[in-house]
Symmetry: C2
């Protein structure tokens, strides 16, 4: 690129700072390096010159030398579910707190994962976190080939490079069954997310197995998109062929909000008067007064902290596989009006 | 770091690939470089060896040489507003489409911006996009000191390095006034976001100036947090001191959802029977049946495309300031039940 007249504009370099401060370029480098040794007097001159020029150190040479970028690849699917927006937000904050930065990798689905991995490898990210619901062996192999520590968020990938942090989905499913049984529900229903969503499947498994101990079985099981519209449509289909359930546990809050609107508007039913409804994730909308939805808080901050512990341990140790661990974080029941008769 | 016994594990290098393919390291580099010249036969051998070893090229040396990282810093505030989650999602997809990657910079507020700028400068991002509501001169100066093209999303920063893409907030405010006046509203109210939110202020300005042409003036003006709870609280405060408005325009959809719930539950009023309500952003929740909220779609895809055009133009030209432009994208009125009497 040739400048169209005028001086070439480029970032202020350490050489520019050294010239203004009247010190060597190496003194500037040492001033801005965490382990660099430099006299108080020189440091002061360098910092003054840097402030004057608006100099900010370039990390790229250090990445070249160390092979460590201090970037963590965070792989997410769509951010339409407010839960994943929260997860990303919390990871960005927590990573910055320990001096790491987020290279965001948005992939539509697991088929797009391979191109994403080129990106992570190309920038030599130190580690990766994936919040993608990819539970396939192929995805695990591709991620493992990066030979960096990887933490999987609420999914089931495992390999010697991959550790997993997940909500204790099965235990929460059991808690949901206990609560509905305790409220006198006789015709419980379960609304699952897509088959590939392992977390949702676990929630349903815990729910159904605990219903049995109460002498109950699902009066209906629905499966579909884990979106608001998916929940809305599933209830409309159900009501067109069968009587309504009197209790409903949904694989996530988005589906639960859609289900509540369909029960009320398409079914002319009252929630919680006729049907008790529970969701999962405790997204902000669960607390909105129109829904007032009983849900499970995944305790994202604890999950993120656990994920960072796993990464930090792996990064501090000798290079090599440090995965294969699974941490379960209990989900906290948040009871609201949608499961209170007369609420 | 010393490996605790066993071989040192490191990413597969171009030298490893060259050895297996029986070619020079330079031939491997050329195979993976967009402009590299290499014979078909060599390319085939290199690609086979790379596939066998799981090799992925390292971008860092090229970044050193070219000074271009092909990363774009995307600065966001919290992602609690689904609108900003959507914006981030669309930018990630669009940038990837032109071979650029997202270095995510989450900052709580404009005070945290300076640390974020160290990060952007350190990684030598090619450009930055900011979706932060920072309209201060200090923020503009700090961003400009990076000497890279910057696009500001729906804010009012300007400098020779910064261009802005924004929704045509003022025109939309006028459209809102026209719609409510057309529906016979006599006591319109305006609910603004925080004073620092320039976009929200513009919406209110357009609304109030057009109300005047209909012989109307705001019966109430509220100001507060641009969240669901902010909208809920503002209506509760209003209803405790004055009769309800019969039409309400809110600075965003989150506030409008909170306002609707407060009007119905705290006020015992019907929306739209007693009060017509409009929001802004067309977040997914606006279409949820409990709200069925009339809103303005900012046409995020068009705004993102416009932002990338500005960046691409700046990056293709000679190094130097290429900012100072402002593009307005019209907002599209999406009418739903919340402004239909008898809806």
């Amino acid at each position: 690129m040739t400048p169209a007249g005028g001086p070439i504009i480029r970032p202020v370099s350490s050489t520019d700072v050294a010239r203004l401060a009247g010190v060597s370029q190496s003194a500037v480098s040492r001033t801005f390096s965490p382990d660099g040794s430099v006299s108080a007097r020189t440091r002061e001159k360098v910092l003054a010159a840097a402030a004057t020029l608006g100099y900010r150190p370039n990390r790229i040479p250090a990445i070249m030398l160390s092979g460590r970028s201090h970037m963590v690849g965070v792989i997410v699917g769509g951010l339409d579910n407010p839960f994943y927006a929260t997860v990303l937000d919390r990871f960005a904050v927590a990573l910055r707190g320990i001096g790491l930065h987020v290279l965001l990798v948005q992939v539509a689905d697991s088929l797009a994962l391979d191109a994403a991995l080129d990106q992570l490898a190309g920038y030599r990210v130190d580690a990766a976190v994936t919040a993608l619901a990819v539970g396939t062996r192929r995805a695990a192999d591709a991620l493992s080939a990066l030979r960096i520590p990887i933490v999987c968020f609420n999914s089931r990938l495992t390999s010697s490079w991959i550790s997993t942090v997940r909500s204790d989905n099965r235990a929460a499913g059991r808690d949901a069954a206990d609560l509905l049984a305790d409220r006198g529900v006789r015709r419980p229903a379960w609304m699952a997310g897509p088959r590939a969503n392992a977390a949702s499947q676990e929630r349903g498994r815990g729910f159904v197995e605990r219903l049995a101990t109460h002498g109950l079985a699902p009066a209906a099981t629905m499966q579909g998109a884990d979106t608001y519209q998916g929940g809305y449509d599933a209830i409309r289909r159900l009501l067109s062929v069968s009587p309504p359930p009197d209790g409903l546990f949904c694989g996530n809050d988005l589906m639960a909000c859609g289900a509540i609107d369909a029960l009320r508007q398409a079914g002319g039913l009252s929630v919680p008067g006729d049907v008790l409804v529970m969701g999962y994730d405790d997204i902000p909308q669960a607390a909105w007064h129109s829904y007032d939805l009983t849900s499970f808080d995944q305790q994202v901050d604890r999950m993120v902290a656990a994920a960072l512990d796993l990464l930090a341990t792996a990064l501090a140790g000798p290079p090599g596989p440090a995965g294969g661990r699974t941490l379960n974080v209990p989900a906290r029941l948040v009871e609201r009006g949608s499961t209170r008769h007369g609420g």
